[in-house]
């Protein structure tokens, strides 16, 4: 009786754990299934190498490169800001702040991570874009720079908090050895602690970049909807996620290649983020663990 109950419970729990299998393969299956009709019309080669994206007007063109470049441009701007800012903030938290300051600062910074992305999008269009347009000439109403800056603000806590965890796990013996040789606090932080925590810090960077790539609301609201092939962050661009939202908000009839194309773009986005995630998990698995 007792063992029957135990085994029922065990199987119930196992079923719950297995939902993740269903979700993972569900997403992959749906993206492949729904984009198959699209790839009957447009060859995958044309899709992946074409440099003109005009799926909603005649003559149609399905080259995804401008969307990919738009995504990378926004992500690049965000990474350029968040990597130095997030790492320095983490160094402050881990090496300079008193434990009391840290207890207050870290949760407050994490508030930033809990703010809904639509609020960040609003912040981008009402504060950051007007400010940029006032300072830099030639900034368009919708531009990759504003979106990138705000995405960076959104992911600062991710980088700072995870890098702080990684740096704090570096054993004190290493710090003390360096101090004993007469190193300054800065030399210890940059020369010993940061390299010692590099795998955890890298995992934080990759996680943050993955979030920037898949970020949807900020880029939809601030980066614009012109799929131009440009590397100028002052221009309006369109990202992969922005395109998907544009189509699902519009009146493109279901079943047309224009509508089907969102699943092809979604599949590409899934493949990109999957490789990033696997890379991150791989880094984390070979995390240097310090046994004290």
């Amino acid at each position: 009786m007792r063992s029957l109950r135990e085994s029922c419970i065990r199987h119930g729990l196992l079923t719950s754990a297995s939902i993740s299998i269903l979700t993972s393969f569900g997403i992959l299956f749906i993206l492949i299934k729904e984009s198959l009709p699209f790839f009957e019309d447009v060859s995958p080669w044309e899709f992946l190498t074409g440099t003109n994206w005009a799926p909603l007007m005649v003559p149609r063109d399905y080259g995804v490169i401008p969307l990919v470049v738009g995504t990378l441009l926004v992500t690049g701007v965000a990474a350029l800001i968040v990597i130095p800012v997030g790492s320095l903030a983490a160094m402050y938290l881990s090496e300079y702040a008193s434990s009391r300051a840290r207890r207050i600062l870290k949760p407050t910074l994490e508030v930033l991570a809990g703010i809904p992305t639509v609020v960040y999008g609003y912040f981008a269009i009402t504060v950051v874009t007007p400010a940029l347009r006032a300072v830099i000439p030639g900034v368009e109403v919708f531009n990759a720079l504003s979106a990138g800056i705000v995405v960076a603000v959104m992911i600062i806590p991710t980088v700072a908090s995870l890098s702080d965890d990684a740096m704090r796990s570096v054993p004190n013996a290493l710090r003390e050895a360096a101090f004993g040789l007469g190193a300054t606090q800065k030399e210890v932080t940059v020369g010993v602690v940061y390299p010692g925590a590099i795998s955890g810090v890298m995992a934080a960077y990759v996680l943050a970049i993955g979030r920037a790539l898949g970020e949807t609301m900020i880029v939809t609201m601030a980066a614009g909807s012109t799929p131009l092939l440009t590397l100028n962050p002052l221009d309006s661009v369109q990202t992969m996620t922005g395109y998907i939202v544009q189509v699902s908000l519009g009146d493109t009839p279901a079943g047309t290649p224009g509508y089907m194309s969102i699943f092809a773009v979604g599949l590409l986005l899934f493949v990109i983020t999957l490789s990033l995630n696997l890379f991150r998990i791989w880094i984390q698995r070979r995390y240097v663990r310090y046994d004290t």
Partner: protein, 306 residues
């Protein structure tokens, strides 16, 4: 220049660099706070004049001064309530299985990998899953038929939104719950087994109560995430113009973030202010949820100490 002079110079220089670096880290640290302060003040200045009890009691309108948040507010509460009911048992059960039951074999490793990946999948892709699997259920249309007493496909309903958001936050909750379970000391389990408890009795009476505050934090974290998610709901086609509150799970709905997005995308500047008022309500709900959990956690920790 003699050697000691050289050392002195280098020494001063290194310490100057050290002080400079310290200020640099402080500046980096404050950037996040400055951004947060600007964001919140901007929203409060824009939105507060538009905020009133009436705002929560009106439906959307073409006229900014008559636009209200009622449908979005109640729509969000419906979806979030049902998402909590759906995710908490499944998420905690999954975490219990992975942490307390499964042998650390290949299968557990595989599930762990999938969950870790799912937590990093862009939310808009969950929206696509929701659109095909729940809204349309692989049918070309959303004309509902009844199957086993359930209306299928779900259409653009509260139920479809709930299912989509549940799948989205499950990995977050599972990961947080596992961390909480991991923090429970093994001595507790060994003591329970030593007294002849079965695995489930040990989990139910000792491990779960001890991990409860941590799990609760995970619940609020994941529900907050679901409350703020916009992209998947836009993707599955939750409506932006809804002039009623849902009364069954099959009713169409709108949610706070969607309504805010809709207002913010309009050209009239007044609607930007209405959007700010909406944001204040959304942030207030999020803050309230987090405050409740801090209170509950403090109480749980006190009763554990007593």
């Amino acid at each position: 220049m003699n050697r000691s002079q050289h050392f002195q110079d280098r020494f001063t220089q290194r310490h100057r660099k050290d002080r400079l670096f310290k200020s640099l880290t402080k500046v980096a640290m404050s950037i996040g706070f400055i951004a947060l302060a600007i964001l919140l003040t901007g929203i409060l200045i824009e939105g507060l004049p538009w905020l009133s009890w009436d705002f929560l009691d009106r439906y959307p309108s073409r006229t900014p001064s008559k636009a209200g948040f009622k449908a979005a507010f109640w729509g969000s509460l419906w979806v979030i309530g049902l998402t909590t009911l759906m995710t908490v048992p499944i998420g905690v059960a999954g975490a219990v299985y992975l942490e307390e039951y499964s042998a650390k074999g290949r299968f557990a490793k595989f599930i762990e990998l999938l969950i870790s990946n799912l937590a990093g999948v862009p939310s808009i892709l969950y929206g696509m899953l929701g659109l095909i699997a729940f809204v349309r259920m692989f049918q070309p249309t959303t004309d509902p038929t009844t199957f086993l007493g359930i209306q299928v496909p779900f259409g653009r309903s509260v139920l479809a939104g709930t299912c989509t958001l549940s799948l989205l936050v499950l990995p977050v909750l599972t990961i947080a719950s596992r961390e909480a379970l991991k923090a429970v000391p093994d001595s507790l389990r060994l003591a329970a087994f030593g007294l002849g408890a079965t695995r489930w009795q040990c989990v139910r009476h000792h491990v779960l109560p001890s991990a409860a505050p941590g799990i609760l934090t995970g619940v609020v974290l994941s529900i907050s995430r679901a409350l703020g998610e916009t992209a998947p709901l836009v993707m599955m086609g939750a409506l932006t113009y809804v002039a009623f509150t849902p009364s069954t799970v099959y009713d169409p709905f709108t949610a706070m973030p969607i309504q805010i997005f809709n207002w913010a995308s309009r050209p009239q500047p007044e609607f930007q202010s209405v959007a700010a008022a909406g944001i204040i309500v959304l942030l207030a709900v999020l803050l309230g949820m987090n405050a409740v959990v801090v209170l509950l956690r403090n109480r749980a920790e006190r009763s554990k100490a007593a």
